[in-house]
């Protein structure tokens, strides 16, 4: 008898393949863990028992028929609730889509299912991914598994918390300005935002189309690498014109030494105002761990990168305004009853279907795109974006990876940050790689010396070098004791296998 939350993805898949346990048993263990843990956590908006069991039984039948099982056979997966999956609702954490069922499945979800994952649950999120705490969800808050008084981060807070609490082994999130990496840091798990274009966005409800990227959460770098194999393995998705063909085996070089490779440290980030002491010292500890393994630490600068937040809060809202314009209650989604005209129905459906932050971002976008204003902000933001991208390219001529914090501090308490602009600063270290599009990953470093809460380091790599990024992540992981760790308050609660 073992505990599901102690197993890696590889162990689960090989156990199912070897017949040590069936996929259905794994599925029931995961459902049992959710049953024992999620009342307190509220990471899951829907538990997809039937879908998951059907998938598990299909795998078990395949095995019984002597067929080789796919690499993630039987691995429990949670999916952020902005990703379409036939047979489930896609709420985006919003009243607007409370009852919305998509008639098609997102490519990223389908690829995980094809790799053998069990679709266990859809997870909570900030409404339409607008937020850094999962507090803007229409369906209630999600607790941080390490401290139930605190937020799990966001917007993919439900996915990060479900993995950190051991409810599932892998989860998918989406990252527009840090929505994978910041909750990964707050919850003490690995969270990867791949290079823009690496993972198909088809079927993922868009927030900022030029910024959004889907990526995996796991408790181990290896789990995340396996998920990347599944997401990228089939290459370019013909349904997403921005998706690129970049299939590589993420396991192949995972254990490679980092000796002789160069790690860039940016003084502006390490000494940034608002960076807490415990995060700073943990990040420097991660640098040291890499240096101990023979990597060379190099001081680099990233000119213009400070403009990332300004550029982001122009581009993001503009794209969000446009992408969310379709939610008018005409054909699906929340429809205000009793309206006399189309205009009234659209206006009221939107007024009452969207929450405050979703409205704030759309109004900001509507303003920024209006004639006379557009030229002053949007153009400037695009210019800044070009400069920031070039800045990164120059830095990566000198170093193989950049090392910086994921979040300026550890998880904050519910309601602690009420000023939206202060909330926006949660993403001060993550936004720049959405602007530039390159890949980045948050790796847990154990618990902070002051708060006792998870602390993390962020590694950023050149575009489409996500495999080497994970090699560095694995090197950091080796130096700390966070690997595979489930938050103690939840570890072992149900989920026996």
């Amino acid at each position: 008898m073992s505990l599901l939350d102690e197993l890696s993805a590889r162990q689960i898949a090989s156990g199912v393949q070897a017949g040590e346990f069936s996929a259905e048993e794994v599925c029931r263990a995961s459902l049992d863990a959710i049953a024992s843990r999620d009342a307190e956590l509220h990471a899951c908006l829907q538990v997809l028992e039937e879908l998951a069991l059907a998938k598990a039984r299909e795998l078990d039948r395949d095995r019984a028929a002597g067929r080789a099982l796919p690499p993630l056979a039987g691995v429990p997966l949670a999916v952020k609730d902005n990703m379409n999956l036939i047979g489930s609702r896609t709420t985006c954490g919003s009243r607007m889509l409370e009852d919305y069922e998509s008639p098609y499945t997102a490519t990223c979800v389908q690829r995980m299912l094809d790799a053998g994952c069990l679709p266990i649950a859809k997870t909570n999120m900030d409404e339409f991914a607008f937020g850094s705490s999962t507090e803007t969800s229409h369906f209630g808050k999600t607790a941080n598994p390490w401290d139930a008084e605190r937020v799990p981060g966001g917007s993919s807070g439900g996915s990060a918390a479900a993995v950190a609490a051991g409810e599932v082994t892998l989860a998918l999130g989406s990252d527009t300005g840090g929505s994978i990496r910041q909750p990964a840091a707050f919850c003490g798990v690995v969270g990867l935002k791949p290079t823009y274009g690496a993972v198909s966005r088809y079927g993922v409800v868009a927030f900022g189309s030029s910024l959004d990227q889907v990526g995996p959460f796991g408790r181990r770098v290896e789990d995340v690498a396996l998920a990347m194999n599944a997401l990228l393995g089939e290459g370019h998705d013909p349904m997403d014109a921005t998706s690129q063909d970049c299939p590589v085996d993420f396991l192949e070089h995972l254990e490679d030494p980092v000796e002789g490779l160069r790690v860039g440290i940016i003084a502006d980030f390490i000494d940034a105002e608002g960076l807490s002491g415990e995060v700073r010292s943990a990040v420097l500890g991660a640098a040291e761990a890499l240096a101990d393994q023979g990597a060379e630490l190099v001081d680099v600068s990233l000119p213009n990168v400070a403009d990332s937040i300004s550029a982001y809060y122009v581009i993001g809202p503009c794209e969000a305004f446009s992408n969310l314009a379709r939610f008018d209650g005409v054909r699906y989604g929340y429809q205000e009853p009793g309206c006399a005209t189309l205009a009234e129905q659209s206006a009221k459906s939107r007024a009452h279907g969207f929450g405050a932050e979703a409205k704030r971002r759309q109004m900001l976008g509507a303003y920024l795109l209006s004639s006379g204003v557009y030229e002053r902000y949007y153009h400037k933001a695009q210019k800044a974006r070009t400069l920031i991208t070039k800045s990164y390219e120059r830095a990566f001529e000198e170093v193989d990876v950049l090392l910086l914090p994921s979040s300026p501090r550890t998880a904050f308490k519910f309601g602690e940050i009420s000023d939206p602009t202060q909330m926006y600063l949660s993403d001060m270290f993550t936004i720049s790689s959405n602007i530039a599009g390159n890949g980045s990953v948050s790796v847990p470093l154990g618990l902070g010396e002051d708060s006792g809460l998870p602390v993390a380091v962020q590694l950023q790599g050149p575009a489409f070098k996500d495999r080497r990024l994970l090699t560095f992540a694995r090197a950091v992981e080796r130096g700390f004791e966070a690997e595979g760790r489930v938050a103690p308050a939840f570890a072992g609660k149900g989920g026996e296998l």
Binding site: M83, Y104, C318, D328, T341, Y374
Partner: protein, 521 residues
């Protein structure tokens, strides 16, 4: 209201056109794989992409890009190698995403030109002397000829966009959403690849606008990008028109004319609008910027919508669609696929076969018609090109119309037409007789020469047989002979008629005419 002629003596009409053409010859929609078909039951051809469902993404149709590049090359445009799609936002359920994907400041095709030959009656709409003034607006000047004038019309751009869904408002008085009890949406059309051509405001008369549309339609038909039906709406045209006093350079306030579903409507709608605006201005009023609806039945325009402020569509580059980088190879491959264009074909007909310009233009305009005509000329031994052209234009086309057929499924073969044209050319039958022979050709499939002989229709051209008839008629009609000699030459028509009657319709009227003149001189 004053007549158009009167108005244009004092005012200059400035006209620009916006022409939307659906790329009906493609098989799939602009950004998804749905079948292009408007005929099927509503919402039969829809998917998450064209329904704008959450999470769906557009993937551009490469064949549509080929079509617009061809359209640009065929209208003298520069092909922009780098251009982008933009999102144009407006809240209306005919566009499922509440934005239309279209192009921004740089379109695939920029700065083209079509040369119009304005001839005959229509040329008189442009007052004499207007040619010289016209050069001032940046367009190339008009060149006057004997029978009309030539004028180049600049094309600002041709851009690519997607069509909206079709809406059907039920229970309202005017078919508008505001009064409707129910509004139905058919998304079959939503996402249809559409190209929009915008002219510079270079047109000056309704006739020029009509000719421009006709010419454009002929070109688009020839390059095979659309069925170009104004009736069904696969080709749609909006006209912008404003007036200014002759000699002024500032533009007046324009109105936009919609609901134009025929070339005649375009002409008549613009004519009405020019006359209406002149009346408003001459009475000291001001023209309001508004969209007006043409009512062909009552030959008038009515207000559809007043534009008080410019709409703010919040245009910005579509982040789901990377900028296009068209290669030279791609553009050249499009060029290589272009067939002979109507102007070149017309010139060839004139140069090689000596056809009259107007005949050549008409025949070269419709690809299927041109193919039929060329087949008929080729079948003739020897070729009688002008006679064949006359027969096709003045006989065969009317026959097709009556039969509900066309050149592609013609009930008479090009070989039959060639043979019949040879008979006309040899004066063996008259044009009128040739028209009578056509249905018999279709019915029997026989060679026209056989039909003519069997039915005794062949005309006598032999002078030995005709001269006695002429002599007899002259002897019988001394009054007319005297009148002719006194200078009333028109009377010859009467005498020819008498000869025809005398010969029971078999004598050749042309030869009778010649023989009569000889004898009377």
């Amino acid at each position: 209201m004053k007549s158009l002629e009167e108005v244009l003596r004092d005012w200059e009409a400035v006209i620009g056109l916006e022409v939307h053409t659906e790329l009906t010859t493609l098989t799939t929609k602009m950004f998804c794989g749905c079948e292009l078909s408007h005929a099927d039951e509503p919402n039969a051809h829809v998917c998450p992409v064209c329904l704008g469902l959450p999470g769906a993404l557009p993937v551009p149709n490469r064949e549509a890009i080929r079509s617009i590049v061809k359209a640009g090359l065929a209208t003298g445009c520069e092909i922009e190698k780098r251009s982008m799609f933009y999102r144009k936002h407006y809240f209306y359920p005919d566009m499922a995403k509440n934005f239309q994907t279209t192009q921004g400041p740089v379109a695939f095709c920029m700065h083209g030109r079509l040369d119009l030959g304005v001839r005959g009656q229509g040329a008189s709409e442009l007052p004499d002397g207007a040619a010289a003034e016209r050069a001032g607006d940046g367009s190339v000047p008009v060149t006057r000829g004997e029978d009309g004038y030539e004028v180049p019309i600049r094309i600002l751009r041709i851009h690519m966009e997607e069509d909206a869904a079709k809406m059907n408002h039920l229970g309202g008085a005017e078919g508008r959403i505001t009064e409707a009890a129910e509004s139905l949406i058919d998304y079959n059309r939503c996402g249809t690849p559409l190209i929009e051509l915008v002219t510079e405001p270079d047109l000056r008369t309704p006739e020029e606008a009509r000719l421009f549309m006709e010419k454009l339609r002929r070109i688009f038909l020839t390059i095979g990008i659309s069925d170009c039906s104004l009736e069904s709406g696969s080709m749609r045209c909006d006209g912008n028109v404003s007036l200014r006093r002759k000699g002024e350079t500032e533009l007046g306030t324009k109105t936009e004319l919609k609901n134009i579903n025929s070339f005649k409507s375009l002409h008549d709608g613009l004519e009405y609008e020019i006359r209406r605006q002149a009346e408003v201005l001459e009475e000291g009023g001001t023209v309001r910027q508004e969209t007006r609806h043409f009512e062909p039945g009552r030959k008038r325009t009515v207000v559809m919508r007043v534009k008080e402020t410019a709409d703010d569509y919040r245009l910005f580059p579509d982040p789901d669609l990377a900028p296009f980088d068209l290669s030279d190879g791609f553009i050249e491959s499009c060029r290589a696929e272009l067939p002979e264009l109507p102007d070149a074909k017309r010139d060839r007909y004139m140069a090689a076969w000596g056809l009259r310009a107007e005949d050549a233009e008409t025949l070269a305009g419709e690809p299927a018609l041109a193919a039929f005509f060329e087949a008929a000329v080729a079948a003739g031994e020897p070729a009688h090109a002008q006679a064949t052209a006359n027969l096709v234009l003045n006989g065969v086309m009317g026959f097709w119309n009556a039969e509900g057929a066309g050149p592609a499924e013609s009930p008479v073969s090009p070989e039959q037409v060639a043979s019949l044209a040879a008979l006309v050319a040899a004066d063996a039958v008259t044009s009128a007789q040739a028209r009578e022979v056509l249905p018999i050709c279709a019915e029997t499939g026989d060679d026209p020469a056989k039909i003519v002989d069997e039915r005794g229709m062949r005309q006598v051209t032999d002078d030995d047989a005709l001269l006695p008839v002429v002599e007899a008629v002259l002897a019988r009609c001394p009054d007319q002979v005297r009148q002719y000699r006194e200078g009333n030459v028109k009377v010859i028509g009467f005498l020819v008629g008498q000869c025809m009657r005398e010969s029971k319709g078999k004598g050749n009227p042309k030869r009778f005419n010649e023989l009569l003149r000889e004898r009377l001189s």
